[in-house]
Symmetry: C2
Subunit: 258 residues, 2 copies
DNA sequence: CGTAGATTTGAGATCAATCAATTCCTGTGG
DNA sequence: CCACAGGAATTGATTGATCTCAAATCTACG
């Protein structure tokens, strides 16, 4: 990933563009933190919201910096990353459209947040949002639900990081991205799934606790074995989703119970 | 760890003992999900609560099983574990006193829960608790806060799993347990910290994504290097907490900002 | 004292990291 | 239109940390 020095921070923020949109037309209206809001509640949110745009590669915020806003990803992908003093990094969250950024009741960012692709966020100044959350159970309820989902996802990822082989890790990541795309595009379950990888090999490595060379080797191996097809470096086809899940070490049935 | 077959499930539940206690005297009164409750709210909680006791090694619940209660750990330690079909396991949560178990709005357990030590839980039947949560913002607020804390802990652990060496992993686990004990016992920060490891080498391995042999070797190495002292297998002394944190790859200052 | 489980220790194998080129894209300028 | 630059990605050779398999010790308890 392109190195970005700390000094660029203010400049990056100034490059952010502002756009506007009605909540009614918002693509994440029914999945974001505002999903349960009634129209009067939405109106009050409209008053304190503003959009911010980031280009691929831009820092949204540095870990430890003051964070005076919270918000939702509207489009694009952002990543949460932790860094050790010696430079080792681990991605700890992949923020997709509708995911929530920031923590009510905390002043400083706990992680680096980077725009992995071009990114649009719907932001709220933190204090007005916190006040509104106090008075609006619909927001707090939805935030709790989303946080519990994130916790489940984080725990799922702990299994990947702690116990899976490099090949299984890659297959796991691909199957998560594929599943998300399948949900959005709602194809028949036996049709091949096609998508563009939104991550560089290095970002994949940071997510998976691997080196980029190992990511590359395992991508090649999965391709050679017919588990995936690649056109260019980023365009992926999954001919057989069950096969991919098997390679990921997951139940083909997705582990769904009762 | 002792193997427990699925068939033992009902029997184990029947072995649970029941005890009673006033919330006012409860050791976790001010840290659990009920921390923010007023006395009238506590009274209503008292009506729907009951205690369950488990012996070290007992299953609290199997992943996928119907879970008709939620609750808090009162004393002892429980662990959340994920298992792959081929038997590889990863611990994804270590539940200490005051930690919350279960998820409102979900019917089936997502993980195996095991009593790692003798364990006492304060339980609520799920439906009454959910109803009460709707009417009691203090509970929902506290649960959100606790869930956000757990998410942070999970992300911290992702860095450990993904990027740290075996030695750093062990040091990280010891420093977490040591810090917790230091918080409870409130010693001077330069006095040596002493505690009993509540985990077997195998449980440590499951937490850290290692084999138990590697855990054992690294414990021996840390002992040889004077980072820790061992009396017996479980009784640990940390002569120099800063040194341990350094071995864990963490900032000695604990990363505290502003 | 004997047994079983927990733990340690040893030797060798293996998977992923590291170091080192090389190739593939994509966008730019001649 | 093509050559070239530079980052992204691939591939190769080697190293090394951790796993695996195996055996020996320790410890608690009947």
């Amino acid at each position: 990933m392109t190195q970005i020095k700390r000094g660029d921070h203010a400049m990056l923020n100034e490059r952010s563009l502002t756009v506007h949109q009605q909540c009614d037309d918002c693509p994440i209206r029914h999945r974001a933190v505002c999903a349960r809001c009634e129209s009067d509640e939405l109106e009050r949110l409209e008053e304190i919201k503003y959009y911010r745009k980031f280009e691929a590669g831009q820092m949204v915020i540095w870990s430890g910096d003051k964070m005076d806003f919270v918000g939702s990803v509207v489009s694009g992908i952002a990543s949460l990353t932790q860094t050790m003093e010696d430079g080792r990094t681990q991605m700890v969250g992949l923020l997709l459209p509708s995911d929530f950024v920031g923590r009510p009741g905390r002043d400083n960012a706990a992680y680096d947040i980077v725009a992995t692709t071009d990114l649009v966020m719907c932001c709220f100044r933190k204090t007005p949002f916190e006040n509104m959350m106090m008075r609006t159970p619909h927001i707090a309820q939805r935030l709790l639900e989303m946080t519990l989902d994130e916790l489940d996802a984080a725990r799922e990822w702990m299994l990947v990081l702690g116990r899976k082989t490099a090949r299984e890790k890659i297959a796991s990541l691909l199957s998560i991205i594929a599943r998300r795309d399948a949900t959005l595009n709602m194809r028949g379950s036996d049709a091949p799934i096609v998508f563009d990888l939104p991550l560089t090999r290095e970002a994949m490595a940071d997510y998976l606790g691997l080196t980029l060379e190992t990511v590359s080797r395992q991508m090649s191996a999965l391709k050679k074995d017919g588990v995936i097809t690649l056109e260019g470096k980023r365009h992926v086809t999954i001919p057989d989703m069950d096969r991919l899940m098997q390679e990921a070490g997951d139940d083909a049935d997705g582990g769904m119970l009762a």
